[in-house]
Every structure is written in C-alpha cells, then in structure tokens.
C-alpha cells in the first residue's frame, strides 16, 4: 500500500494507495492555510458524528477544538508580516498512554504548514480508533486529498527500524514521553539542520488563595475542576498538580483545606477507584518522603486511600522528587507567592491557580524569573491544549520565515 517503503512491521493507518517518496516530496504550506482549516472543520464534523464520543470526552474536546471558529480564533494571535512556510517533514512520536495527544501534536504541526509522520500509541485505544476512523471517512470523500497526502499515520512496536528511517528524513522531530523514551528515540540520527522538540516528564502544582476560596459559593465546582486536573488522568499527566500551595491568613487556610478536600472526596468517592498496587505505591511514597525529608512532614488522616495528603512543615527544593499517582498530594502553607520561587526548577510545567489575579501572577514570574513554569492557568484548565506548549510557540517553532528584501 505504501510504495518505496520496505519496513514490514509498520502499520499504515490511513489506507490508500500511497508512495513514500512522493509523500516526502510534498511542499510545505503557509501557516493556517485555508485548505488545512477546511479539513479540520470537516474532521470536527466527522468526529461529532461518531456516537462513541459520548464515552470519550477527550475525543469530543479534540473534535470541538478542530472546528473552524476555534482555529480562526487561534489564528488571530498571529500576524505574519513576512512569508512563512512549514518547516517540511515533522515526525511525531506520541506518548504511549495518552490517547488523544498524537492528534493535537499533528494538528499543531498541520496548522504550521507541515507534512506529518505521526506515530500513534502502540497500545490500542478506542479514542485513537475514533479519530483515525474519522480521517478515513474524509479520505473516502476525496475532498481533502491535498491535505491527506501530507499525513502519514503509523503504528509500530519499538523494535521496528521505522524510527530510524523517519528520523533520517524529518526536519523536526517531536518526542512526547519520559526521559528514558526521549533518550531511546534520540539514538536515531536526524539530519544536520533538523532539530528535536521534546515534551519530557514535567511537574505541576496548584496554588490556592484561601482568603478568596473561603468565599467560594460553589466549592463543588472547584472540586470538579481539580478532579479534571488530576484524577481524570490518574494524576499522571505532566499537567497534573502534585503539590498544593495554600496562600492566605491561617484560619482561612485551615477552613479552606477542609472544604476543598471534603468536596473533592465527595466528588470522587463514587467515580474513582485506586488500583490496589497504587494504594501500596502511595504508602511507599509517603514512607520514602518520611525517611528522606530532612524536616518533618505529616500525613493528614484521610478516610481511605483515595486522597493522600502530606502536610509539609518546610518547603524543600527537591519536593518534586516525592510524587505518586492517583491522588497523592504534598501540601504547604506559604507566606507569599514569592516563597515558592526557590523550589521551581526546569521540571516545573503548569501552575494551576485559584483566587489570584493575572497581574499578580505575571508580576511573580517577572520578579522571580524562575527556571521553570511554562503555563499558568485557572484550576481545572491544566489539560487544555494550547498552541503554546511547554514554553514553545508551536506555530512559530514549526514554521520558517523567508525574508524578502
């Protein structure tokens, strides 16, 4: 089905008679080209038609993201004074356990004007099938051949030599995954002018101003928002907070904590199950933290293994090393936002906030200039995809400027 391509253990996901050499010879497009926007709008419609999306809010969200109105809105943030074109061939290595991520990676790169080779997760996810099915349906209409020609969706196991081949022909390689995965993929050479964009393992936190939270009329809503940030991804996404920083007056903090965690507990108790081995993991994490933390910490007694809260007496710089999944939080009452700047290292990605003004947050970053934190978003929004990710403006970095004087 794919001519001039002789690796046999690669599954080509959008089936059509293709030629790998010709695929690579496709021209780049300009960012936000009408053709791409039209394609995405139709893709959005095709996904919406699939009844299965009711079970998969992540696919529904992706479909919604692709509609024309949203994309045009995103485009407004860019003004291209000079000629811009996609960089060429972008090879995406999607993470193995986040189903929809490959699609966002691909769409960002399409919007930047590139030709894309996308390795989808080797594990089979129904979400992936829904999206691929929608693309296949578009392919049958024959309407978007020009765009479809520029996408190659593949699935293969890590033993395959395909990573080597795709690396050797790409202009940009995007690697999502843990540090080990990135090191493994990087063993494959890319051409001299090509470069990698890596989305490595990150650490995220949440800051809540108790002086504001204490007046919150709908703590249930905030609990739901925090659930979306954490438990929805087993607290295992890069964007999921592991550390909860409380700001504000002592009494307010104490009361707020109670309200916040009680509401979270009520919200999750019927819908979330901690896997037995993860219950043991939490205990191991807590005891490790107890052994290694120079100053004392305390487990706040919770009813069960759903929420583990570790009260810190002191905020130590290596707090990001003590984390678990599925509901394990270190907690600290800080005197001010600036007190947390000392712990922020390059690993820090997302700061979720409640009850703090945007101005204050901007000032915090400008004053302290921390090495980490690439995104600051309201609580509940940590997993929203953005074209600015991990500090990269994906459209800019995935396109090139041609200067004409």
């Amino acid at each position: 089905m794919l001519k001039n391509f002789n690796i046999t253990d690669v599954n080509i996901l959008v089936s059509k008679e293709r030629d790998f050499d010709k695929f690579l010879q496709n021209t780049s497009l300009e960012p936000f080209s009408d053709k791409v926007i039209d394609f995405l709008n139709d893709l959005s419609k095709a996904i919406a038609k699939d009844k299965r999306i009711r079970e998969f809010p992540d696919v529904a969200t992706f479909g919604f993201y692709c509609r024309k109105a949203n994309i045009i809105n995103l485009e407004k943030k860019y003004s291209f004074d000079e000629i811009n074109l996609g960089r060429g061939v972008v090879f995406h290595v999607a993470p193995s356990n986040v189903p929809v991520n490959f699609a966002y990676s691909m769409v960002s790169s399409m919007l930047a004007g590139n030709i894309n080779i996308v390795r989808v997760p080797s594990k089979s996810f129904e979400q992936v099938e829904i999206i691929i099915n929608a693309i296949n349906n578009l392919s049958e209409t024959g309407k978007h051949n020009d765009i479809l020609e520029r996408i190659l969706l593949v699935r293969y196991d890590r033993q395959s030599s395909a990573t080597k081949l795709f690396s050797s022909v790409c202009d940009v390689r995007i690697i999502w995954g843990g540090d080990d995965t990135i090191a493994e993929i990087r063993k494959n050479q890319i051409p001299a002018r090509s470069f990698d964009i890596t989305f490595a393992d990150r650490y995220s936190l949440c800051v809540i101003n108790a002086d504001e939270y204490i007046n919150e009329e709908s703590p249930q809503k905030i609990a739901h928002a925090f659930y979306n940030d954490t438990y929805l991804f087993d607290q295992n996404a890069c964007t999921s907070p592991h550390l909860v920083i409380w700001l504000g007056e002592g009494n307010n903090v104490e009361k707020s904590k109670e309200i916040f965690w009680d509401n979270l507990y009520e919200f999750i108790k019927a819908k979330y199950i901690v896997q037995p081995v993860v219950a043991v993991d939490k205990l191991v994490s807590f005891y490790s933290q107890a052994i290694e933390m120079p100053n004392s910490l305390e487990k706040t007694v919770s009813l069960d293994n759903l929420i583990w809260r570790i009260e810190l007496e002191e905020l130590t710089e290596n707090i990001d090393e003590y984390r678990c999944t599925s509901g394990y939080f270190s907690e600290y009452h800080a005197s001010s936002l600036s007190e947390i700047s000392k712990i922020i290292n390059r690993k820090y990605q997302t700061l979720a906030y409640y009850g703090i003004s945007k101005d204050k947050l901007e000032k915090f970053i400008l004053d302290e200039k921390p090495n980490g934190i690439d995104r600051i978003v309201p609580i509940g929004r940590t997993s929203d995809f953005s074209l600015i990710w991990d500090g990269y403006d994906l459209i800019s970095v995935l396109s090139r400027r041609c200067e004409v004087r």
């Binding site: 193995s96 995965t181 999921s240 896997q275 081995v277 993860v278 052994i291 009813l303 599925s326």
Partner: protein, 359 residues
Amino acid sequence: MNINDLLHIDPYSLNKEEKQNVLSQMLSSLTKHHYNNCIPYKKILDSSGFNPNGNYNYTEIPFLPVRLFKLYELRSVDKKDVIKTMTSSGTSGQAVSRIYLDKETSANQTKVLSKIVTSFLGKQRVPMLIIDSEAVIKNRKMFSARGAGILGFSFFGSKRLFALDEEMNLKIKEIQEFLKTHKDERIFLFGFTFMVWQHFYKLLLEKNIKLDLSNAVLIHGGGWKKLISESISNKLFKEKLYNLTGIKNVHDYYGMVEQTGSIYMECEHGHLHTPVFSDVIIRRYNDFSEASVGEYGIIQVVSVLAGSYPGHSLLTEDEGVLLGEDNCPCGRKGKYFKIVGRLKNAELRGCSDTYAEKF
C-alpha cells in the same frame, strides 16, 4: 512471653485470644525496639503520628511495604553485628530486598523454621532429596531467597542429595540409587514449586521414569506465578505428582525473605496456616482496614522474629483471602488462608511513562 517460650509450645496451639495477647505484647515491644534503633523507622512512625510507647493491638501497628527494603538500608543493629544479608531473588536488573540479620535473629529463624517443619515432618532427621542444583547455595556471602530456603530446610536431612546438576539436568541414576538405599525410610523432598514442576515432574514424565515416592513428604514454596501461566493449580499439581510417583504428602508453604523462618505451611486440607510466631492480616484495598473472612485483600504479615531489622510488620504485594480462624478441620489453631496471587501492575492514564510500556 518471648520467642523461647513460644518454642516450647506446639506451633499451632494458641487460640485467637491467646495469640492476640502474645503477638500484641511481642510486636509492640519490637516496634519500640526498632523505633529506638533504626532512624528511618523512627521517621516513618513520627511522620505517621504513631506513638511507639502506647499499648496497641498488633493489628494497629504500622506496616512497611516490602518494597521499602529494596529502597533503603533498614536495620536496627550495628553494621558490625550483621552476620548475614539476605536478598530477594529478583530477576537481573531489578532492585532486590536486603535483609540484615544479626546472630540472634538468624538463630531464631532457624529454630522457628525447625519447630514448624518438624510438626509436619516429625522430629527425626530423614534422607532429603533437594529438587535443585547445588550451585545455588555455593555463594554464601549473598543469600538469595532460593539458596537460603534450601540451606534452612537442609537442617532436616540426615543425608542430602541435590537432584539437579549445574545445567539443571535431573541426576536420574543417583536419585534412583538414593531411593533404593533408603527404601524403607521416609524421604523428605524439598524444592521450589516451579523447579519441582519444571525440572522434576516434567522430566520424569517426558522420560517415562517411575519413581516410588509413596513414603515421601514434599515441601515446596516460592509461589505459583509461573505455574498459573501454565494453568496448573495446586490441586492439579498434587494430582499429577501423585499419579506419577504415588506421593501423598505434599505441602506448599508461603514465606518470604523479608520474614524468613516464620513460614505458613499448607495443611492436609490445602489451607495455609499461621503459626504462633507470625500472622497474616488481610487488608482492604481502599482503606487498608482489616478484611473479613472470605474477603480478598492485600496480605500483611507480622512476625515476632524480626529483631535486627524493622520487618516485624510488613505489607506484601500479594493478594489473599482469610478462610477462617481456629476452626480448620485439620485441628490446627490460628488463622488459615489462601493466596490469590500478586497484585496486578497499574495501568495508568497520563503522560508520565513510569508504568507504561516503554518505546
């Protein structure tokens, strides 16, 4: 009560209330001992808000996940007093548990193991056939679980023969000779469950060799993981061995390197029994509370033997179920239970690939 007192009574003679008193007293005092002699253990109890000086029922004493012994050097005696370091038999590359034994703890382990096993085997030492290769016990500096098990049980053999050579081939001629020499004696067979199945039973079957083991007792342990993957249950294991060799007395045991000595032997009714030296508590997954009889949970094990390291109360990564207490038809007192298997690996969403299949 102390360990010596317990060594003087039948290992399955205490009823629920008596045992609870004994264990609560002995394990509380071990908790204090480790708190005062092992800094990491002290930090754990302090952080958990547990006061070691209180009076506790033994079920209230915190349990350490066995994995901690892979991550930290946990001991309650001076380094110079450590005479043996036991390690779990992890596959290469995996971290192994390290258990530090002083003279007293090590001696107690031997005594208790002997007490438990002789109650099944009789006090007389008997000819012993070890279903393994001598190679596993050659490196005595590092005691792997397998080597330690063999050495521990070798105590009961008047004469010993290793049934396998270094290449894991069955030494058939020598075995036949051994059985002939000890024709009218009771024979003690010992080995790891998988070794017995893979390198003994299967080979006898394949080569169509008949051995008469009708007068033998087989004690085996080490877990069923590999046999389960071949769909071999304990019942089937016994049936097949019986059909081939006529062996009637077959006892599985549950034990771990983190609590050597105080093992859980399988009775004639197929139940694993807790002796007076140790106990199991089945913990619910969702809140670690104590599960009822018949309810699946994570197995916690306690043992009065762990003196030189803080391993007197441990949370395993095994699943089990309590079948009853003090009322097994075999007549032994104490809890009896069944192992369900290992806890399943977690399958998590999210992008951190700690647990996920790597690229």
